[in-house]
Symmetry: C2
Subunit: 422 residues, 2 copies
């Protein structure tokens, strides 16, 4: 581990160039730009290649050496004074959803690049090297699984299997990587690092609603996803009295409220969502016989998630004992909660405080490459507000002053880990 930070008065006054960062974001957003102001740039397409090429050129212009690994992850290396030390990493992704925005992912990558450019401007050498990483296919829109590049890097997915994954046209990940020239020689395997930092728009409403500039991300929520099937008996709405019904939708409505209560009982970080529902036979004057719906439970610790799971099962059991309908619950997805590293979280918080930026602890409800990285490298994330909490949407937006502020936090958090030669 690195020792204490070597920080001078000058270093604490160091600031990134907000306009240059903003211009780079807008420049990268030209590749795959949509009429509605968003970006459509799916992983490993030719548009992705163009964006990768632009990033690689910028990294080389900044004096970096660039490695590409077997799953297409890009590592831009800025040498440290002791270049054998494990690097400090920053990064994210530059692939987007089909109707994505300009900031999701791109902000984390270009903030890392801006940190390097700022250090170059001031001729600052870090003791440890720093690297900016572009992770392949975070979004999972074209190829599953999501967070592919970081997942392979940490060993969550075997490389060979992942290269064989196909898109809907039958093109494999391996073929797509070859086609765009990003099937690199570097082993797609994690290596020692001083830490990993990822700056990202919040993709939620908390920072905006609380007028806070910086979210100090303490970890990611664990997730349990379920399928529920409520089986009653379809019957004519007219001739069937209320007390003789087996109304699957009425039962589902009760369950939805109980499921909502599960999260309220584990406030503040716990979440429960019913996002998808299918009603059968779905006819105005027929009492529904079968209702299927999804349940998404999230919590910051496995203890909480387990308690929520138990409460959900109790709710289902009670409904089944009622005898009006039958409820079937099947878990289909589990992601473990992932706390971030206390020291890296501390670096982010200290940087925000030093920069006199309003900040608060926050948990990530969504998936990010940092969540995989945290399995092998001490990691942390920096959130900035996004307009109306909207993301994965062409109207996704962030304010220039927030974009700049988050990058300044990244700069100082990275410097704290990398160390600066006076």
């Amino acid at each position: 581990m690195m020792g204490a930070v070597t920080e001078t008065k000058d270093i604490s006054l160091l600031r990134i160039n907000g306009q240059r960062l903003w211009d780079s974001l807008m420049s990268l957003a030209e590749i795959g730009a949509t009429i509605k102001g968003g970006v459509s740039r799916l992983a490993l397409t030719d548009l992705d290649r163009q964006a990768r090429d632009r990033f690689v050129q910028w990294a080389k212009d900044a004096g970096c050496t660039v490695r590409i690994d077997e799953i297409g992850n890009i590592f831009a290396h800025r040498a440290g004074a002791d270049d054998d030390l494990p690097p400090v990493l920053a990064g994210s992704h530059i692939d987007t959803q089909p109707t994505g925005g300009k900031f999701d992912g791109n902000y984390g990558v270009l903030s890392g690049l801006e940190v390097m450019r700022t250090l170059n401007d001031q001729n600052i050498r870090t003791r440890a090297p720093i690297e900016v990483v572009v992770w392949t296919n975070e979004e999972g829109s074209r190829f599953v699984p999501v967070m592919m590049g970081s997942g392979v890097f940490v060993g969550a997915f075997p490389l060979a299997d992942t290269l064989r994954q196909k898109d809907t046209t039958g093109c494999s990940v391996g073929e797509a990587l070859e086609a765009i020239g990003y099937a690199g020689p570097t082993p797609a395997r994690h290596f020692p690092a001083q830490g990993y930092f990822e700056a990202h728009i919040e993709q939620g409403p908390i920072l905006e609603a609380t007028d806070t500039t910086i979210g100090v991300v303490t970890g990611a929520l664990g997730q349990r996803w379920y399928d529920m099937v409520v089986t009653g008996m379809e019957a004519h709405a007219g001739p069937t009295p209320m007390d003789m019904r087996h109304d699957a939708l009425l039962a589902a409505a009760r369950l939805i409220q109980e499921i909502n209560q599960v999260a309220l009982d584990h406030a503040p970080d716990a979440r429960s969502t019913v996002g998808w529902m299918d009603v059968y036979p779905n006819s105005r004057n027929v009492i529904p016989g079968t209702v299927r719906f999804s349940v998404d439970l999230r919590a910051a610790t496995d203890e909480k998630l387990d308690a929520m799971d138990a409460q959900l099962k109790t709710v289902c059991d009670a409904m089944n004992k009622g005898g009006r309908v039958q409820v079937q619950l099947t878990q289909v997805v589990y992601f473990a909660p992932q706390p971030f590293d206390a020291e890296r979280i501390g670096s982010v918080r200290a940087a925000a405080r030093m920069l006199q930026l309003s900040h608060r602890d926050i948990v990530s409800g969504a998936g990010h490459d940092a969540i995989y990285l945290a399995q092998v490298t001490p990691s942390a994330m920096i959130f900035i507000p996004c307009k109306d909490g909207i993301s994965h949407n062409e109207i996704e937006s962030a304010r220039p002053e927030h974009v700049e502020a988050g990058c300044n936090v990244l700069l100082h958090a990275m410097l704290q880990q990398a160390g600066v030669l006076a």
Copy 2:
């Protein structure tokens, strides 16, 4: 009006031939029979023609004269001793749903025919004539509106407009009537009658559940149908805390429970049903932004229906004042409650009592030709149990002893109105 019944000891012992009625039901069910044991015989198709032809032949064999009116309704007339007296009518329909059963409609028509055959067996002359009616297109599966023949007969629909209604292939009602030879010369307009009786399977679970043979139908529920739209804000399930959500499905779930309560608060006859629902964007990890659903309220009186409507609006107003979501309520259908005629109801009840059949008052929650007839003729209905309350389904079923019992009730109720010459 007819005077008191002329009923002798012999008449009270009169019974229909249950086997003959059952055989006729099974015979008619051969036309359009499905592999699953049901009947698919849509209105004004060639299968409908075959069934009409068979009925007309049976009616002529029973000594009836047959009239066809302009909308294809069939009237089989059995002369009374005073044939100028208004007739006593019995009837229903013989068209079916695409996946219909053997009993819905057909039972009412063939019960009327069996009454005539029974009177013929015993050489009984009624004072007033009796007529069995086959109403055109009750189901509305091929041509809308439903209850077309009885609706035109009572003046609810203009004849000319109705004849121009088209099926999905562009064939009009008028063309279809011509094609099957049932565009009759008799004006499709109501005429004075001593009353109208319709025997029918309940299409609900009450009689079976209470082990009751005869439902004395006192009237039909009025109906108000609505469209509801709940508008919240779609957002990511992960990053959006519970207290910052505008979850349209959670709001809809609360509304569904309140809507259920509306009917419970107006027990026992009131009904409320949410049968149709559409969730947007309907994705597992997105909080629903918009939910649309149908509301179907039914009650036996307009006072109750109005009170239920007011309660529904109060529920919506409260939700709107909550401010989390916006609720929009639009009434799309209204059918007035239709009480049946006290004297004809009395005849049905008296017949059931005389026959020592278990019976109870019941309201019709579904639509029937009798509900239109009641607008112009004193009407009543007789319900018999159907298996599991299931109808509009190929597995629709009724027990022979119930089929026979209901027809005996029809016989004696009609005789009470028509009068019998000793």
